[in-house]
C-alpha cells in the first residue's frame, strides 16, 4: 500500500528563530495585531509503500532520525495518510 507522510520539522523550543521573529514582526505591521509565537520550520511530504500505517510511520521516523531533522536543533512530528 502507498502512504503519504507529512513531516513537520520545527526549530527546537528555546532556540532563536530569527525567521519566525521576522514574520511575527511583519504580520504586526500588516495589521495582524496579536499574532504571537510564530515559528518557522520545514514541511516535508513524501510517499512510500508499506504494509501498514504503523510500518510507514516507523520508516518515516527512521528517515527523520537519519536525515530529515537535525537532532541538535530540531524536533519533528509526522502524520501518515493512506492513499
Amino acid at each position: 500500500m502507498t502512504f503519504r507522510v507529512h513531516v513537520r520539522v520545527m526549530p527546537r523550543a528555546g532556540l532563536l528563530d530569527p525567521q519566525g521573529q521576522a514574520v511575527e514582526h511583519a504580520l504586526g505591521s500588516l495589521g495582524f495585531a496579536g499574532t504571537q509565537q510564530v515559528r518557522i520550520g520545514r514541511a516535508i511530504e513524501l510517499e512510500l509503500d508499506a504494509a501498514t500505517a504503523d510500518d510507514a510511520a516507523g520508516r518515516a521516523r527512521q528517515m527523520c532520525d537519519r536525515l530529515l531533522a537535525n537532532p541538535v536543533t530540531e524536533d519533528y512530528e509526522l502524520e501518515v495518510e493512506a492513499r
Binding site: H25, A26, S29
Partner: protein
C-alpha cells in the same frame, strides 16, 4: 529521406490539439503579415505545434525584428575580437593564449512576476551563455532598476531580486564583482534585472554553437523538462498588464546546484573534444536551441519530443518544444561518442539523452513517437521573420523638458552633499553586494564598492576589470548623448582601476518599440553607443534587446546598460577608488563647465528631471582613459575615482568616505578657487560634465603625473591633499569655505539603503 518537397514539409496535428484559427494566431502574438508569411512558407496551414514554434522564434526576443537594422551599425570588429555578436557570448583576446567571454541578459518580466525566481534564473541563463562557449565563469555583475524605496512593494521586489541573484551565483560559486542599482518612478511596475557574466577560456578551446555533420546526434543534457515558462520568449515581448498576470507562464524555478554540475560537465565535454557543438536552452527552450544551431550550421534537424525526459506525464510536443525549464543543454556529437558523453554526464550526476539527429534536407522536423508534428524549412524559420523599422519621433515633452530648468531654490551646499549621499541612487549599495559572495575563486583584487571590479588570472601577470553602467536619466532627456555617456562612464570606471577598456556587451531595455517616441529613443541611444564604441575602440561583442518594458503606469526610462571589460597588463598595479593615505596630493583631471541638466542635484534635491545633459566629448573621454591607464602603469596613482552622478563633490566625498571595510574615512582639504573661476558654486560642485576623475598621488609623483596629463592634453588641477583619518573634508570655492565631517558622511552614505530597507516589504 522524403522524395518531394511537399513530403519533406508535411506535418500533422498532434492528438487533440486545437485547430489554428485567427484567434489562436493572435494569442501567439503573431500579426497578419507574419501569419501570411508562415502559410506561404509552408504552403499550408501550420499545425498548432508549428505555430508555437514560429511564435517563439519570431518573438521580438528571438528574432530582433524591431532592432536588427539598428543593431547593424554597431562596430563589432577589432584586433582583439575573437567572436563578435551572433554566438551565445562575445569573446575577446587576452595575453598568453587566454580569452574572455562575456554577455549580459535581461530577465525583467519574469522578475516583475516573481522577483526571487526571476532574478535567479536570469543569473542561471547568463552563466550558461558563457560556459557554452567553453569558458569558465569567473565573475558576474548585475544591473537593477526599481521604483522608489518608499513604496513597500518596491522594497519587496528589490529584496527578492537581490536575494535571487545572490543565492544563485553564490551556490554556483561565481563571485559577483559589481553592478549597479537605480531607482526611479518609471520602474515601479516594471523593474529591470540585467545579469552579466564574464568567463575565461584558452582561446584554442573556444567552441561555437553550430550544428554540423549529417547524422550527428542531438542530446539533451541536464534537468528534466517541465511545463515551466512556456512562451517565456513571447511573454518577454509584450507589455505588462493585468492580463499578463493571468497569462503568466508557469514560473521557472532555478536549481543552481544542477547548474553547477552542468557547468562542470559542459566544460569537461568541451575540453575533452568529444562534442561538435553545444548550446544552452534559454528562451524558447528546445525550439530555439535546436533551430538556431541547425541554421548556423546550414543543416536540418529531426528531433523526437517523446524521447525528451520530462518531469510530468502527458506533456505534448508543443509543451516540450516551448518549455523554458532551466539548467538544460543541447549537445551535438558524433554517434560513436554518445557512450563516452553519457559517462561524463553520469559522473556529474546528470543524464544525457539522445533525442534526434542532424539531417541534410534543411528541414526543422519534430516527431512525437514517430508522428511528424512539425516540418519547417529551418533556415527560413530562423531568418525570415519580417523585419520592421517603425516610425521614430521625439516626444515634444522631452524636447520641452530639455529646455526647462528648475525654479531657483537655494540649497546650501553643505546640506546638498549630505542629501545626495543619502539618495538611494548615489548611496552605497553595500546592502546589496554583501549578499553576494564576491571573493569565491580566490582571485578578487577589487570587489564591489569601487569603480570597477578586478580579478587576477591565476598563473598570469594580468588582470581583468569589469563594470556595468547606465545613467538612464540622461537618456530620458537625450538618448543620443545619454547613449554615449553610458559607454563613457563604463570606460571611465574601467580606466580608473588602471585597465584599458577592451569591448562591451549591452542590454538595451526600452519600452514598446511600436511607439514612435520609444523607437526614437532606441535609435538615438544606439547611435550614441556606436559612436562612443568607435571612439574608444571598444567593439560591441553581443548583447540583448529587451523591449516592451512598460506597465500601466508608463514606460521605463530608456536604459541601455553597458557591460564592459578591460585589461590590466599588471594586475598588481590596480588602482583603488578611495583615498589611501594622509599627505597624498589631490588632483582633479578634466575640465568642469558645470552642466546641471539631467543632474542628480536637480533630480534628487529639486525633484526636477530636466535640462540638457552635458554633451559627451568623446576625445576628451578617450584622452582621460589613456591618462589613467598610463598613470597606473607607471605606478603614479594612489587612488582614482570617476565623477558621475552628483558631480565633483560626490566623487570627492566618496573617495574620502573610504571603502566599505576601511577602518574609517580620511579627511581632505581642497582649494578649487583657481580651478574654474567665476563658475557658480552649485554648478562647480554638482554639475555633471563627463571626462573627469579625482585622483590622488604621492607628492613626489605629481610632476610625472602632470607630464603625462599634458602629453594627452587632459587638464590636471592640483586641488589639495588627503587629510588624517576621520578628519574633515574642506573645500574652498568662490568666496566660501565649506566643511563636512567625513565620519558623518560615511554614516549617511552606508546607512541610506539599510535604513530604508528596515521598513517592511509588502508584496501587494
Amino acid at each position: 529521406m522524403p522524395e518531394t518537397a511537399e513530403a519533406a514539409t508535411a506535418a500533422q496535428p498532434f492528438a487533440n490539439e486545437r485547430p489554428v484559427t485567427p484567434e489562436v494566431v493572435r494569442e501567439h502574438n503573431l500579426n497578419e503579415l507574419e501569419y501570411e508569411r508562415i502559410v506561404a512558407m509552408l504552403g499550408r496551414t501550420p499545425t498548432l505545434t508549428e505555430l508555437g514554434v514560429f511564435s517563439a522564434l519570431w518573438s521580438e526576443h528571438c528574432s530582433y525584428k524591431h532592432s536588427k537594422p539598428i543593431l547593424k551599425q554597431f562596430p563589432t570588429e577589432g584586433p582583439q575580437v575573437v567572436q563578435g555578436p551572433g554566438e551565445n557570448a562575445g569573446v575577446l583576446r587576452l595575453p598568453d593564449g587566454w580569452a574572455v567571454a562575456f554577455k549580459v541578459e535581461s530577465h525583467n518580466h519574469p522578475s516583475a512576476v516573481e522577483p526571487y525566481q526571476g532574478a535567479a534564473t536570469g543569473v542561471g541563463g547568463i552563466l550558461r551563455d558563457v560556459f557554452t562557449m567553453g569558458a569558465r565563469p569567473v565573475a558576474v555583475l548585475n544591473s537593477l532598476r526599481f521604483g522608489p524605496l518608499d513604496v513597500p512593494r518596491n522594497r519587496y521586489l528589490f529584496a527578492g531580486v537581490v536575494r535571487g541573484v545572490g543565492d544563485y551565483g553564490n551556490c554556483v560559486g561565481v563571485p559577483t564583482l559589481g553592478g549597479e542599482v537605480g531607482f526611479a518612478e518609471g520602474y515601479t511596475g516594471n523593474p529591470l534585472v540585467n545579469a552579466m557574466c564574464v568567463g575565461l577560456l584558452r582561446e584554442k578551446d573556444l567552441i561555437r554553437a553550430r550544428a554540423e555533420g549529417v547524422s550527428n546526434v542531438l542530446l539533451v543534457v541536464g534537468a528534466r523538462t517541465g511545463r515551466d515558462g512556456i512562451h517565456g520568449a513571447s511573454f518577454a515581448s509584450e507589455e505588462l498588464s493585468e492580463k499578463s498576470e493571468a497569462r503568466r507562464p508557469q514560473v521557472q524555478v532555478g536549481d543552481p546546484f544542477t547548474e553547477k554540475l552542468l557547468l562542470e560537465a559542459s566544460l569537461e565535454l568541451i575540453t575533452s573534444g568529444m562534442i561538435v557543438a553545444i548550446q544552452d536552452m534559454g528562451a524558447a527552450g528546445l525550439t530555439s536551441s535546436s533551430a538556431e544551431m541547425a541554421a548556423r550550421g546550414g543543416v536540418g534537424v529531426e528531433i523526437d519530443t517523446s524521447l525528451v525526459p520530462t518531469r510530468e506525464e502527458g506533456m505534448t510536443p508543443y509543451e516540450i518544444l516551448l518549455s523554458e525549464s532551466q539548467e538544460r543543454m543541447l549537445v551535438v556529437a558524433e554517434p560513436a561518442r554518445v557512450g563516452a558523453i553519457k559517462a561524463i554526464c553520469e559522473k556529474w550526476e546528470l543524464t544525457a539523452t539522445p533525442i534526434g539527429h542532424i539531417t541534410d534536407d534543411g528541414i526543422f522536423r519534430v516527431k512525437h513517437a514517430g508522428l511528424v508534428v512539425a516540418a519547417i524549412p529551418g533556415q527560413r524559420l530562423v531568418e525570415d521573420c519580417p523585419i520592421y523599422e517603425p516610425d521614430a519621433r521625439e516626444s515634444d515633452d522631452v524636447r520641452r523638458l530639455r529646455d526647462a530648468s528648475p525654479p531657483a531654490s537655494p540649497i546650501e551646499p553643505r546640506e546638498a552633499l549630505e542629501r545626495l549621499l543619502d539618495a538611494p541612487n548615489i548611496a552605497s549599495k553595500r546592502w546589496v553586494y554583501e549578499q553576494y559572495d564576491s571573493t569565491v575563486q580566490a582571485s578578487t583584487l577589487l570587489g564591489p564598492g569601487g569603480d570597477a571590479g578586478v580579478i587576477r588570472v591565476p598563473g598570469t601577470e594580468f588582470g581583468l576589470a569589469m563594470t556595468i553602467d547606465c545613467n538612464a536619466r540622461l537618456l530620458a532627456l537625450d538618448p543620443y548623448e545619454g547613449g554615449k555617456a553610458a559607454v563613457a562612464e563604463a570606460a571611465r570606471n574601467i580606466a580608473c582601476t588602471g585597465a584599458r577598456p577592451l569591448g562591451i556587451t549591452d542590454c538595451l531595455n526600452f519600452g514598446n518599440p511600436e511607439k514612435p517616441e520609444v523607437f526614437f529613443q532606441f535609435r538615438e541611444a544606439c547611435r550614441g553607443i556606436s559612436e562612443a564604441c568607435v571612439a574608444f575602440e571598444t567593439p560591441v561583442t553581443g548583447g540583448n534587446v529587451s523591449f516592451y518594458n512598460e506597465s500601466p503606469t508608463g514606460a521605463v526610462y530608456p536604459t541601455p546598460t553597458i557591460g564592459m571589460v578591460g585589461l590590466l597588463d599588471h594586475a598588481d598595479r590596480r588602482v583603488p577608488s578611495h583615498f589611501a593615505s594622509a599627505g597624498d596630493t589631490l588632483v582633479v583631471l578634466g575640465a568642469t563647465r558645470g552642466v546641471l541638466g539631467g543632474s542628480a542635484y536637480w533630480a534628487e534635491l529639486l525633484d526636477f528631471v530636466g535640462g540638457a545633459p552635458a554633451p559627451v566629448d568623446l576625445s576628451a573621454e578617450h584622452a582621460l582613459q589613456e591618462l589613467l591607464v598610463a598613470a597606473a602603469r607607471d605606478r603614479l596613482l594612489q587612488s582614482a575615482h570617476d565623477c558621475a552622478e552628483g558631480g565633483l563633490a560626490v566623487a570627492i566625498a566618496e573617495a574620502a568616505i573610504g571603502g566599505p571595510y576601511a577602518a574609517g574615512s580620511l579627511g581632505a582639504t581642497l582649494d578649487l578657487r583657481a580651478y574654474t573661476e567665476g563658475l557658480d558654486v552649485t554648478a562647480l560642485l554638482f554639475g555633471e560634465d563627463g571626462a573627469r576623475a579625482v585622483v590622488s598621488c604621492r607628492p613626489d609623483a605629481l610632476d610625472r603625473l602632470k607630464t603625462l596629463a599634458a602629453r594627452v592634453r587632459v587638464p590636471a588641477f592640483v586641488a589639495g591633499e588627503v587629510g588624517e583619518a576621520g578628519g574633515p573634508l574642506s573645500i574652498r570655492v568662490g568666496t566660501t569655505a565649506l566643511e563636512w565631517d567625513t565620519a558623518a558622511l560615511r554614516r549617511i552614505y552606508y546607512d541610506a539603503i539599510p535604513r530604508r530597507m528596515r521598513g517592511d516589504a509588502d508584496r501587494s
